[in-house]
Symmetry: D2
């Protein structure tokens, strides 16, 4: 695998660098995590951003080779592994998907004893325990291998951090005992907590996080290796979870201000995803009160605002999907040239403005030309096909000219 | 205003009818709300669906003329009005945006005394109190007028329901008193609760809900009347809120299974939105334990699954944005025909595959032909423009042929 | 009624004065309540103690004529009135008796919708609503009359405080609405809150509080007026409640350090009771963080420690209840002189050491002489009578010489 | 040590038997604890009561030789040991004394991380961890030895129950981890939980519980062995705790209906204490929903009501402490014969009715005859001595005739 390092002159790189420079000046608060000594060694001024597109190009700004422990950023990816191993119902029986409005270390067990969601520690420990593995070593090795596939390279353990996490992880062990008592832990306590402490201690850099996010953005397929890391439904469920629960008790505010599925860790890393487009990895070890990277949050907020990355940003109506109508053979052949992405709204336009309008005068063939069409949504395709069927029933012929086969690609 | 009633043969209508028929058979549980006598009068077998596209077409299935009280479905629309009146900061100082993981009538005040979000009753009462109005009557009249603009017709009050809500609304008055005591209520108790009880008692049908949703889907502009009901940012913030908090303590599950911003009410109505495409209104008064319409939830789940409406469904990569490359004038003029919607990923492809590849051999003019392009994203436009600027700096000319002006429409 | 004002030379007065002087120097923290302007007018240096014995003598130290609003000190006395009106089951159906471990204004409703106990505001509002009365005025007048009987003089309303409490009592009205919604409020909201705000605004001094406590200490009979204000069981239940719930979330600590049933109010007053002996009233408006009078708490703690008033202080074993044994008539008549209070342990001693030991040699009459006995407990009397019955069954005669009739007074 | 087994004809035994018979018929609900298999082996119909007086006599009814595991009844006694080892402040820094209103297994940590009280599991585990011991074995051995001293015989471990508690004790280990994380656990997790599981698995019968309670009733001295097991203040603090927190979330109700410090365990045992008089042990393995022995609760409620054992029962005023006044030597010598227990109220009477009344006519000696007095309270003694001092200052002589020395025994 080759990582394409772009010229620093690249405009995307320039944009990332601008954001980084601005945020470095405007955001100076936050403290490095101090609950274990190893995390306190982090250089508080490290700050890097990487973005990886689903086509495999990667852009960087700042300290992108600095390594840090992945910490809670591992949670959605291990959740994805548990989903792959057990299916949605198997995992759903043990851990919920509801935002709890509570901090990461809350003891939020619902009436069935399930942790509220896999992003709080209690839930993450349960999802770790659900990963298939005959013992804690095999379980961790599967987790490490899977996260490595998401990153596209072999991730390594920071042994010192792991030992320290393990030595001070009383509350996490308590959460494991509680979920075991509640009947939802999938293994013994140590068989869950040790792999959990280890998964949190895997070393990554912002490129890794960007590619892990890009793999989710790409429906589960790694943009560079081409490896199908998880099924498409797993990628979607994982992004759903990141959307509602990724930023702890700031998740609602996050959707308002950033609007991208994301997950942060106390190591200072954040992964964010623009579905279908790219993954972003940010690293800055200064944390705000909620335990999220201060500069990371500021950078993603700025990126979202400047580049319109919010999931619910109003997509302006595209230009009409009908590029032109050609009448040939004295009206017996009518060609409607379509263009762009044909979603339901576009299909509606095609049906109403082209077909229904046109068919009345014409007795010949109506041809829909899809040459300039780049995609046809499922619902749009259904509408078009149903209309064609109805037209045929009325002895009205409609033909498709679709050299790229976009009509049936969905 | 004319409402376009489509032929029942329309394939969209057929699809809605299929969903309705299936759900009517498969989902028979749930009870009509009984906390006030008026709601118990609802026919439990009423069931209707309407869908309104952003271009103004409306499709129906089932009991679409049955009227019912809007109840909590009013909450996001009144929130939108408060946002318009006070701005995001003004409202945010009084009510949060975090999902609480709690039922609709929970007393969830945060450390600043703010209700967790505007979808639980406490928060909705606060947002109602924030609507500008010199007294409770003026406040309600502004709310009624605004919701009428969202619907595109004058909505009327069900006086009997209002009187009953008012007579039994002790808990809601308690929430008003608590928020007043906490310093976040924007008015006196009665000046908040009476308009609140009234807004809940407005009569709507599924067409109204579909159009209210479509107005949000359309960035705040009503699809039929063309009225800009709210600013685009208000529509986005309202959809953000519906996404995380719309379905009470089932909001997480809702995102997993349906993935559309939505809001339900105990009257049996649900509004759901596919941003940029359409709004859906469903009505069936049988409620599940969480207080959401059983059949409404089932119908929206089926619609989402069958038609790929989930916000995070992996958008398959469109066909390449480069439809073709024409070399003319012995290589001195190269025309790159683009097509479809050019988002960041597409722009990346254009830069890397067309411009960078092509410019090396060419000394002449490179023309990007946008004739078949339907939209250019903000981030894509930035990337393209920056590339052009860089090319020019390197004495390499790039021209745009953009007859529809899509390049600068964002 | 005459209040006996003791000579300042009285040693009890001296002791109270010593405590007052010591506490005034050692305890200088705490702030006057400031949630309404009227309470802020209190002189923070006012400090007084009164103690009233069940025989009607009253001792004073400090500012004992300063009047202040009774505030939450009214709660147990209104609870006692509600118990008298509705009985224990009638009140128990609407409000619990469990300490909640929460502050006074907590919203602690149990699974049946009942406030945790009548000492938190929610519970106090419910008990007020349960007092018989055709409207809010009659209800308040009954409360005022009853508290006046507890005090032994007509208590008056501080109208300014009442108006202020009413104007700012949003949270309390919220609690009333919530309990009304839960079905446990005994009246309409205003019919509960207005008498509640008024009962809190009754003016008292430390003598009043001491006599109100002494009435409870005396089983419900006022020591001076002789008025049976409440039944004995009502006095006991009221003291039980004060014991577990009287000092809000400091109630457990209170039992450890003071060990007397008590109740405090934000006006700066505290009433404390030594069952069977006396009531104490303290007033100092400086409040600690839990809302209890700082100096009042310190004074009662010192009084408890110095004078052994803790309810669970180990009562040293009294001297043997057998003062002497007289053998007369050549052993045919044996007189056992008893003394003191004969509780179960003493009765055990009498049975085992006197009767069982003595009866073997004697065939004549055994006389138990109760002349110096001051009281015989119920359980002791049962034991003695059963023993006598058994002795008679064995043809062994036991006679009682009980000039004061203490044996059958229980 | 000899245990005195009384004749079944003894009236106390008869009373206990009556209660047992009545409760056996009236109370048939409740289920044997089933969370570990060993407890399910208990015979649900076993039912026994023992009462042990502070003078060492023991009374029995029913199945008093059946052994069962002490379970949570151990908690107050281990708390007493921790108090002895660390002092009140040392223990108070790690665990609170506030009733939590929550079930036994609640996670109630206060803002300082302390469990609410030592009666919920979290608090009991902390107190166990505070018992001095170099390792878990030494810690348990000290606990076992101390509880044996309370019982007056060597208690033994039920190994099978211990192993089962340990194997299933996930929630308790979780509580230990949480308190360790909060910094209040006094040892490692296993060093706290293993002695905790073992202390719960000690085998006792109702005689043991009665004597353990009697030792607390007796101020810390075992009634039979004479062993001072704990200091008097420790006994008092332990009883204070049992009073407010002994019956979990039914503690408030318990004080209302029974009014004795008590502690129950899921093994079916309950210990209850009448301070200064006796301890009661009850055993019946059928548990109510709160986890207390159904028949045990019913029996103690009946005993309290029938024999007036409620701590706050209104003690009727004793007969006057003045048995008679003898005037001798032509008025120059006046002898006031006192009797009974002289508490503050009695001392008040003596001062006011005897001394103050008498001294005016007399110039000679006033003698207070304490021959028939069985006890003088601390506060009463202070009042009398202060009065004497004042009298002497006024050249008025008062003499004491106190053959038993009760005046200075306090």
């Amino acid at each position: 695998m080759v990582r394409i390092e772009d010229d620093v002159q690249n405009p995307v790189t320039t944009a990332l660098t601008d954001v980084l420079t601005t945020v470095r000046e405007s955001t100076t608060d936050g403290e490095v995590a101090d609950y274990i000594p190893e995390l306190m060694l982090a250089d508080p001024d490290h700050f890097g951003i990487s973005a990886a597109g689903v086509l495999g190009r990667i852009y960087h700004a700042g300290d992108c080779t600095a390594r840090f422990t992945i910490q809670s950023v591992s949670k959605p990816f291990v959740y994805a592994l548990a989903l792959s191993d057990l299916g949605a119902d198997g995992v759903g029986a043990r851990v919920g998907v509801e935002p709890s409005g509570e901090p990461f270390n809350a003891i939020s067990l619902d009436e069935r004893g399930r942790p509220a969601n896999p992003m709080i520690n209690a839930g993450a420990i349960v999802t770790t325990s659900l990963v298939t593995g005959s013992d804690k070593d095999e379980r961790f090795e599967r987790i490490r291998a899977q996260l490595s596939r998401f990153a596209g390279r072999e991730l390594e353990l920071d042994t010192a951090v792991f030992e320290s996490e393990k030595a001070t992880g009383h509350r996490n062990r308590a959460l494991a005992e509680l979920t075991l008592a509640a009947g939802v832990l999938g293994s013994g306590v140590d068989d869950a907590t040790e792999p959990y402490f280890k998964q949190c201690s895997l070393l990554v850099d912002t490129t890794d996080l960007a590619l892990m996010g890009a793999t989710l953005a790409n429906g589960g397929v790694h943009p560079l290796t081409g490896d199908r890391v998880v099924e498409e439904w797993v990628a979607r469920d994982t992004l759903s979870l990141m959307l509602t629960c990724g930023m702890y008790d700031r998740s609602g505010d996050w959707i308002f201000r950033v609007g991208m599925p994301a997950k942060s860790g106390v190591g200072g890393g954040i992964v964010a995803v623009t579905p279908g487009q790219f993954g972003i990895g940010v690293f800055s070890p200064r944390l705000d009160r909620a335990g999220n990277s201060s500069r990371g949050v500021a950078a993603l907020r700025m990126l979202s605002q400047h580049f319109g990355l919010h999931l619910l940003d109003h997509p302006q109506l595209p230009a009409s999907p009908i590029e032109g109508i050609l009448v040939r053979d004295e009206g017996e052949s009518i060609i409607v040239r379509l263009r762009g992405e044909v979603n339901f709204v576009a299909a509606e336009q095609i049906v109403h403005e082209a077909i229904e309008t046109v068919r009345r005068p014409a007795d010949g063939i109506l041809t829909l030309d899809f040459t300039s069409v780049t995609r046809v949504d499922q619902m749009a395709a259904r509408l078009l096909l149903a209309t064609v069927a109805e037209a045929r029933a009325n002895s009205f012929e409609i033909a498709f000219d679709d050299p790229s086969g976009v009509m049936f690609a969905g």
